[in-house]
Structures are given as structure tokens and as C-alpha cells.
Symmetry: C2
Subunit: 126 residues, 2 copies
């Protein structure tokens, strides 16, 4: 009754992560306990797919491979690492919020610079 087992190609399609990268994540310990068919071919579970989506989200917002590996290592250990895992997410949350602020500042700066292009004046700087 294991709902859907995804082939590597299906998994790549589903998550938008290439097959090579999926294997790389597994090698690096960011994706654990991936099942295999009798042929030795990987069969990804729905939970794997969801985790890869989370993983990508964390990566895209600047969490490093090392941090993600650490998080996965903790998850492997089990329940008594919940607090640390929670802390990792909370710390990353703060970081993402800072990134949003940084980008809002960037928008203001870009707008400021753009104002010189829309202006009648030909001022170049500041």
C-alpha cells in the first residue's frame, strides 16, 4: 500500500531537480533511505519528493549543503534531536527575514538609481 513509488526520471520531473543532483544529494547525506527496486534502481517515495522540495527551498534561501547534512544527520538520530532541528529552522527563518530586508533595501537603491535615468537631468552618480 505504499502509494506512489517514483522512478528517478519521475522524481526529477516532480521536483525540478535533475537525476544527477538527486544522486548527489543522496551521496552527501541530504536524502537518506531511498528505496530500491529489485533491479537496484531507485524508487523515491512521496515523502522523499516532499523533502526534496523543502530541501530546495532551504537551499534556495541560502542554507548550505553542510547545514542541511547536519539537519539530516540529526533527523536520522531521532527524537532527542528535535530541539536542535527546531533551532536550526528558527535560525534560518531569521536569516530569510534578513534577506527580505536586504532585498527591500536593494529595491530602494535600484529605484534611486533608476530615477536618474528617468529624470531630465543627465546626472550619472549617487
Amino acid at each position: 500500500m505504499t502509494t506512489t513509488a517514483l522512478t528517478p526520471a519521475q522524481m526529477a520531473d516532480r521536483t525540478g531537480v535533475t537525476i544527477d543532483t538527486l544522486r548527489y544529494y543522496e551521496r552527501e547525506g541530504l536524502l537518506t533511505n531511498v528505496e530500491r527496486a529489485s533491479s537496484g534502481h531507485r524508487r523515491y517515495s512521496e515523502d522523499d519528493a516532499i523533502w526534496v522540495e523543502v530541501l530546495r527551498c532551504l537551499r534556495d534561501t541560502g542554507m548550505t549543503m553542510a547545514q542541511l547534512r547536519h539537519y539530516c544527520d540529526l533527523a536520522e538520530i531521532g527524537e532527542d534531536t528535535k530541539d536542535e532541528r527546531q533551532q536550526i529552522l528558527m535560525d534560518h527563518r531569521v536569516l530569510v527575514e534578513a534577506q527580505i530586508e536586504e532585498r527591500k533595501t536593494a529595491l530602494r537603491l535600484i529605484d534611486h538609481k533608476l530615477s536618474f535615468y528617468s529624470d531630465f537631468s543627465g546626472a550619472e552618480l549617487s
Copy 2:
């Protein structure tokens, strides 16, 4: 009457960019027409400092070296490239806005995942 000429060390201090990186930017054409003292040592102008700050802001929000070099090349050419330079900034603006949205989505996902840690339940996924 050139207000303040900054030494490399002062420039690094002012902008938060290392001396090595400043030289690297210059080599790569991201920082042009830097003056020299009679000794051959660089003397950065206030405008250089401001530009490096802008440059860092654009880099930090994902503009590549190649794009920045292109922008600088255009600025070197002069007035008739203003439209293209404006367009580059407007394009980047759109990108930064998308980054903000991406990060807001990330926050929601992190919060969702955090909710499982704060819950009474010990559910692990989704």
C-alpha cells in the same frame, strides 16, 4: 579640490570589500578609471566608493559579474547606452522582487515545518 582620495586600506574599510576583491573587480572591469598616486598606489575617489556599494548591493541580490561588467562597459561608452543600462536595472528590479516573493514563500514553509516541532504531536513530515 578632489575631496577625499581613499587608500586601498581605507576603501576596504569604507566599503567592507577586501583589497584583493577591489583589485579583482578592477581587473574584471567592474571598477574603472581608478586613479593612482605618483607611487603607483591606487587612490579611490568618493564616487568609486559609492559605486562599489551599489555594486555590492547588486551582487548580493544575484547580479552576476558578467552582467555587471556589461553594465560598466555600457557606462564607459557613454550617453547613448542609457536606455540599455536603465533596462538592465529594471530587469534586475523584477528579479529582486521575485526573490522577495520566493523568500516569503520560504518563510511560510519554514513556519509550517516549525509547527510540527511546537505541536504536541510528533509528526515528522509534510
